[in-house]
């Protein structure tokens, strides 16, 4: 790899570029246009991995690894985590609310892209010198040498930045609990005092199809009770209402019951008839 070409690149790299580049672009587009956040995240992860490969191809071995470890490993996981926290299936409709926003955005994007390309195009970047001697002592050592000499101050700053970020994240997300946690007894008394839901909340999952956390339990009159679904799901609007099908099931059941009863009824009458007859016969 130290013989990294100075004026042009190997056909292998070219091939790799064209293939992976296409994938990367597609991944990016998917990131933007996927309905669900999870999908976007996954596509993004893909793109990033490809970028990592490109870094390696460009002789930035350290960065390539870091890209995979930090980005795809850490950051993207963080994303997914948050997505889960906020709601996997909360698909926000891509329908635009602000008038003309989308078209403006696309227009700007297009123009911007064209401009960038044009800019790069008329910047005369035909010949360039590779990282041969720069990476001679090894890429990581080279980076280290620079970071701890020229960029040491910036480096320290990034340290400070990271710490700040960590603290900030804690401050933002951590909810300080001010009052003492209530004991069960207290909770119970409170419930009694409020006078609603003396019994514990109804359990979900009546007429379960699958793990029915998201299915509201039915009240005696067959109407679903939201209370039986966990708050998070309710907030995500992931409550499945099964009251109607439940009622249908009920009807079907009764129907079948009817039939059976019908048969038995006729049987009985027969018997009674017979019995009558038998009664007559006994005279």
């Amino acid at each position: 790899m130290s013989a990294l070409a100075a004026y042009t690149t190997s056909t292998g790299e070219a091939f790799q570029f064209w293939v992976l580049g296409t994938v990367a672009v597609i991944g990016a587009l998917c990131t933007v246009f996927m309905k669900r956040a999870v999908h976007s995240a996954l596509c993004l992860a893909g793109t990033m991995i490809i970028l990592a490969v490109f870094y390696l191809a460009n002789g930035a071995y350290f960065l390539g690894v870091v890209q995979i470890v930090v980005y795809t490993g850490a950051i993207m996981m963080l994303f997914l985590f948050v997505v889960m926290l906020v709601g996997v299936t909360a698909a926000d409709s891509l329908k635009e609310t602000i008038k003309g926003q989308r078209w403006l955005a696309l227009l700007c994007g297009l123009g911007f892209g064209i401009l960038l390309v044009a800019g790069i195009g008329n910047a005369s970047l035909t010949e360039f010198n590779g990282l041969g001697q720069a990476n001679a002592g090894g890429n990581v050592e080279g980076l280290a040498a620079l970071i701890f000499t020229d960029y040491v101050f910036a480096f320290e700053l990034t340290g400070a930045l990271l710490i700040t970020a960590a603290v900030g994240a804690m401050v933002l997300t951590h909810r300080e609990r001010t009052e003492r946690a209530k004991t069960q007894r207290e909770l119970a008394e409170e419930r009694v005092r409020e006078g609603k839901h003396l019994p514990p909340l109804p359990a979900p999952g009546v007429y379960a199809r699958h793990n029915a956390v998201d299915i509201a339990g039915l009240l005696p009159d067959g109407t679903p009770s939201e209370l039986t679904v966990s708050k998070t799901l309710r907030d995500r609007g992931q409550v499945r209402d099964v009251s109607t099908e439940a009622l249908n099931d009920l009807k079907a059941l009764e129907q079948r019951a009817e039939d059976r009863l019908e048969r038995t009824n006729s049987g009985n009458s027969g018997n009674s008839g017979n019995g009558g007859k038998s009664g007559e016969a006994s005279k």
Partner: protein, 648 residues
């Protein structure tokens, strides 16, 4: 000796300061302090006079330089006094008559709770007037000039609770201000022409500049004089000025302040001599005014306003004389002095009459008062004889000389001016006789006063105290009032004779205002005879009209002229329509313009901006993403621009 000059001014100024800042605790003694300081100033004047007479005619002028007032590059104004015969004459007149009137006021203002302040104002006036006549440059004179204006403003409006008084005061000040514009422009002209405005240098340098400049300066000075001395066209304020207390009318609006204009002209003799046109204008103004005032005087039923008219016309005589140049200056001053005596006397008499008549001023409600207030009658009568120029009394000498001089101007002008002066003398005799008869003779119209409302609403405040219909009890005024009247009467009897015997006055003033003997086309004797004749005619006419028959209490409608004269010959109406109304409309419209146009332009732009921003505001829909779009677009545009720049 020189150092005394400042004291002349300082004494009354001190009085004014003390009395005006003194507060209530001085109420008890205020009038005494005021009078004392006025008298002190008079005494100083006499001392200086004695000293001056002691020297020979050439070296009588003396000066005192106090301090440099406005020292600016190329512009030196000093506070310096100059005392020559002319100033001395005025000093004596002012302080003398002034002191007398102070004394008189003690009695007259006895019942006024603001008497202290009144005396303070009087002292202020004395100080300003003395400053005016003692100044050795025009700028300092200007200070005195405005000072007396202020004093007269304060004194005319002394009874401020009367809107009429307040208005009259304002009017007086404003009209005077118009005159002051003239004076200040004149001073500027002097400065640009001569580089100075001290009497000495300016008057010596008159020869070195063109007649045009001199005419301009002289006319501006004349304008100032018209304002102060109530000459046409700026005479309108004098009549209303009678709203002030009578002593004020006597001192300021008869004896001293109104004559300041004459002083100014005589003082600037060299300038006027240098410009015949200006002199002609001056004489014309004088002549017109003396007729104007006389005619107005004939028609007024308010005794003070009648006297005011006569004052106007008498000053007209003086201005006329002053306009005649060297042949007239001395006589102008002489008439000024004698007039100071008898007119002050007359006013004090009128005041005394009003004092006894519940401050009634309408002569139609007088009559037959001679046996109730003998002293007043006698003194008033002497003043009357003096003013109509009864042979032997002071008015006779001075006025006769002026008429002579008028004829002596020569040419048709001489004839016209002379005959006008003669006519004026006749009318003077007529209206003064009218006043005399209506006041002291005839049946007592004040008894069983009819309910007919008075022609002129009674002005003095006490009228409110005594009920409108309470019958007055005419009585002689206290001695403190009568004595000054007596003194003035004496002056008005013998003054003229004393001055003119052996041309004392001429010799006295000659060093200051050179005197030339005029040569009337007709003998002086003829003129004198004519004067006496017309005087007799005037008296006769008046007697025919008011002496024989009873005088109607309600003023008859009268001829067109009479009615016009009652309204100051419509001059006030003119002012009202043209200046007041016009001015009001102008200001109103300007206020409107300022609000709509000047301000409107600005507010208009502001409004358009507001509308614009209102439209722009729509873009700010608060969605972060749309802001992001604009940001992104902006970035794109920037890149485009940079690329283009690099491409170009």
């Amino acid at each position: 000796m020189e150092n005394l000059i400042a004291l002349l001014v300082a004494a009354p100024l001190l009085g004014a300061a003390v009395l005006l800042c003194g507060g209530r605790r001085l109420d008890a003694v205020g009038h005494l302090i005021g009078t004392a300081l006025a008298a002190a100033s008079f005494v100083i004047g006499v001392v200086l006079f004695a000293d001056m007479v002691g020297k020979d005619a050439e070296h009588r002028e003396m000066g005192q330089h106090l301090f440099s007032w406005i020292p600016v590059e190329g512009f030196q104004a000093d506070v310096a006094f100059q005392l020559d015969q002319l100033s001395m004459t005025f000093v004596l007149l002012i302080t003398g008559v002034g002191s007398l009137i102070h004394v008189y006021s003690i009695g007259y203002m006895e019942h006024d709770e603001r008497r202290r302040r009144f005396f303070g104002y009087l002292n202020l006036f004395l100080a300003a007037m003395l400053l005016l006549v003692l100044a050795d440059n025009y700028l300092l004179l200007y200070v005195g000039w405005e000072g007396v204006g202020l004093a007269s403003y304060l004194l005319i409006g002394f009874w401020q609770h009367k809107p009429s008084a307040a208005t009259a005061a304002k009017k007086a000040f404003l009209v005077n201000r118009v005159g002051d514009v003239g004076l200040s422009i004149a001073i500027m002209l002097m400065f640009t022409t001569f580089g100075t405005f001290a009497f000495g240098p300016v008057l010596e340098a008159t020869g070195e500049t063109g007649e045009g400049k001199l005419t301009a300066i002289a006319l501006m000075l004349l304008l100032a004089a018209c304002g102060k001395s109530a000459q046409v066209p700026l005479q309108s304020w004098l009549g209303d000025a009678m709203e002030g207390p009578t002593p004020v009318s006597a001192l300021i609006h008869a004896a001293t302040m109104v004559t300041a204009g004459v002083y100014l002209i005589v003082r600037s003799a060299d300038i006027f001599n240098g410009s015949p046109d200006a002199q002609l204008v001056t004489t014309v103004v004088g002549a017109v005014t003396l007729l104007f005032g006389a005619i107005v005087g004939c028609a007024k039923d308010d005794i003070k306003k009648a006297l005011a008219g006569s004052t106007m016309s008498q000053i007209g005589y003086m201005v006329l004389a002053a306009g005649l140049g060297p042949i007239g200056y001395v006589f102008a001053i002489m008439h000024l002095v004698t007039h100071g005596f008898f007119k002050a006397g007359l006013f004090l008499g009128a005041g005394s009459v009003m004092h006894g008549m519940n401050d009634e001023v309408d002569m139609r409600k007088y009559g037959g008062l001679r046996k109730y207030m003998p002293v007043t009658f006698v003194t008033f009568g002497l003043g009357y004889l003096a003013i109509i120029g009864f042979p032997g009394l002071s008015g006779f000498f001075s006025k006769d000389k002026i008429i002579e001089a008028a004829f002596a101007k020569g040419g048709t002008e001489g004839w016209i001016l002379g005959s006008v002066a003669l006519l004026g003398a006749a009318i003077t005799a007529y209206y003064m006789t009218r006043v005399m008869l209506m006041t002291f003779f005839g049946e007592e119209r004040w008894r069983s006063r009819p309910t007919a409302s008075p022609a002129e609403p009674s002005v003095e405040p006490a009228a409110e105290h005594h009920g409108e219909h309470a019958e007055p009890h005419p009585h002689e005024s206290p001695r403190v009032m009568t004595i000054p009247m007596i003194v003035l009467a004496v002056g008005s009897v013998f003054g003229g004779a004393y001055f003119s015997l052996g041309d004392r006055f001429i010799h006295w003033l000659e060093p200051v205002t050179e005197h030339a003997h005029g040569h009337p086309p007709i003998s002086a004797l003829t003129v004198t005879a004519a004067t006496v004749a017309v005087m007799v005619i005037g008296v006769g006419l008046a007697w025919l009209q008011y002496g024989r028959g009873p005088v109607p209490v309600a003023a008859p409608r009268g001829s067109l002229l009479t009615r016009a004269a009652r309204r100051d010959l419509l001059q006030d109406d003119f002012n009202h329509v043209v200046l007041v109304r016009g001015g009001e409309h102008l200001t109103r419209s300007l206020v409107y313009v300022d609000h709509t146009l000047v301000d409107g332009v600005v507010n208009g732009t502001a409004a358009t901006m507001g509308g614009l921003s209102g439209r722009l505001r729509r873009v700010q829909n608060g969605y972060a993403r749309s802001y992001a779009v604009s940001m992104f677009g902006g970035a794109a545009i920037l890149i485009a621009v940079t690329l283009l720049m690099r491409a170009v």
